[in-house]
Symmetry: C2
Subunit: 324 residues, 2 copies
């Protein structure tokens, strides 16, 4: 294989054209980018790293990986109630990765940035003898003092989620060949949910527009574990009604044959739905944006699952297995 282009060539060839769209990026020719938040807004900043075969499958299409890298970070902005402002991307390419892979990654990344109207402001491109990694830092803007936080939950609040839960974890099972009997339409749906997260930017802005007191976070590590993070930050507990958890038709099809997959739905990550708490009035104001799945209690740190048969048990951080 011909020697790979140097770092500067890679940036110039694949990333500068994407970044050139925004004046803040200074065409990626400077040491840094410059931007300003809109008047009255604060800057929200988040960062997430993804390592090949830890956070994504290196055999997956580079187009899908690019979307995931961007979207998991946008999801963090959504969790804070922020509108996306810009991203900087660090890429560490394994030295044996073909340049064509990088070209496809960059093209898809640029298209997804355009889709979410978020400029690439800068970055760094390095080589590594190890697994390919990406580290993305995203900025967003939120009206001053109004960022959605994890510490705003209060006993008596209701607990709600966007979308459907568990699809991504089941999608990974499909990809790993663990659900061979599933119909292809359901399988495709679940794979897509694993591959391409849908950051809940619009739903997040619905919370901001509603103007209530909401606590929020995005479900990246699974409902069972992530719910504890709001509990910890807000010093509260939760009761989750298993029956109320919104499921896709595909997830329902899986559960019909494999009821033990509830463990993945409760404990599996990568859904990137929003978990939101607020007074019943505030949550009601969100309308069909969310589904209510439980309530907030004063039993600090206790996350209880109420099962369809009326039993209640502590929900272990990694899901269902430990208490059924």
């Amino acid at each position: 294989m011909a020697a790979r282009s140097g770092e500067f060539d890679l940036i110039a060839r694949y990333f500068a054209p994407i970044a050139g769209r925004d004046p803040a990026a200074l065409s990626l020719k400077d040491d840094a980018a410059v931007f300003s938040p809109p008047s009255g807004c604060e800057v929200v900043v988040t960062t997430d790293a993804l390592v090949a075969d830890v956070h994504f499958r290196s055999i997956d299409e580079p187009e899908l990986i690019a979307q995931k890298v961007l979207r998991v970070n946008l999801s963090d902005l959504a969790a804070m109630g922020a509108k996306a402002g810009g991203v900087v991307l660090t890429t560490g390419y394994n030295r044996d990765l073909p340049e064509e892979w990088i070209a496809r990654f960059a093209k898809s990344f640029g298209e997804d940035c355009a889709h979410f109207d978020v400029p690439l402001l800068g970055g760094d491109t390095v080589g590594t003898p190890g697994p390919t990694f990406f580290s993305l830092t995203a900025f967003g803007y939120v009206p001053a003092g109004r960022a959605l936080r994890r510490d705003a939950a209060r006993p008596g609040d209701v607990l709600a989620v966007t979308g459907t839960l568990g699809d991504a974890a089941l999608g990974l099972s499909v990809l790993m060949g663990k659900l061979p009997d599933l119909d292809e339409k359901s399988a495709q749906f679940l794979r897509d949910r694993y591959w391409v997260p849908q950051p809940r930017m619009a739903e997040s802005q619905s919370c901001m527009a509603a103007g209530g007191r909401f606590a929020a976070m995005d479900l990246s590590d699974g409902l069972a574990g992530d719910s504890r993070k709001i509990c910890s930050a807000s010093n509260v507990g939760m009761i989750i009604h298993q029956d109320a958890i919104p499921l896709s038709d595909a997830a329902k099809a899986v559960l019909e044959e494999h009821p033990d997959c509830w463990a993945q739905i409760l404990g599996g990550g990568d859904d990137y739905e929003l978990l939101i708490t607020g007074s019943s009035r505030d949550i009601s104001s969100l309308g069909d944006t969310v589904a209510v799945i439980g309530s907030v209690t004063d039993q600090a740190g206790q996350v209880i699952l109420q099962t369809p048969n009326g039993k209640m048990a502590e929900l272990a951080p990694d899901g269902f297995d430990h208490f059924k």
Copy 2:
């Protein structure tokens, strides 16, 4: 070896105490941090990734690596004329790295953040089967419209640098055992210059205070290659007077025995000094902050070295070798 603590434990144990110092970090408990630039200022953002045994030696002390990770990014802020505002740090730890290494890294990183008065606002901690990597994104603040840029050089400007050049490249040679005859005091000085960059925050602020038209960048990849980046951005050329390049006593001691080390001084990276152009009046106003090493020409893209014997030759991007 006992199993390493999980990601959340590592963050809680080692990084949350550092980040807890700044309210913007929300104690690292939220999805993102929130901050505001001072009134009238823009946000400058830069990111740099460092991979073990590519950008630093994995056998080096974690305390020194932590300082390097922070400082190479602060240097990019200095190059833009920005004051440091905050950093977010992504760490990808090789899974066999002892937790004690991480603890030492984090302690040193926190101390260096305090030294530069720059808060850790957030980050991500992941494991990797490959080499340890760090990706840091730094924010700074600069008065609106006044960031130092690479495209501001004009023919007739003079060219200046802070500090002394080549020390870091020679320090790496010392570490690799290539300069065994050097006295220990010089060797120690050069090693330190390789290990611990000194981001030129004060010198950068001198430029801002002087208020002239400056182009600036930091010398991370060596004078020969980096000078071309200002030439490219500003569509100019440069003449560099070899005799005028400021050298440390240690570098002079090396050159006495090894005159061929000029190639490293001109082409070697990791100095993190500032390369600045401006009118002779503007550069003069900086006083002893900088040393003048040449001038800016209208010969776009041509970087000429004038040697002590009066000869002039094109300076190759990687240093001296190709034209002597």
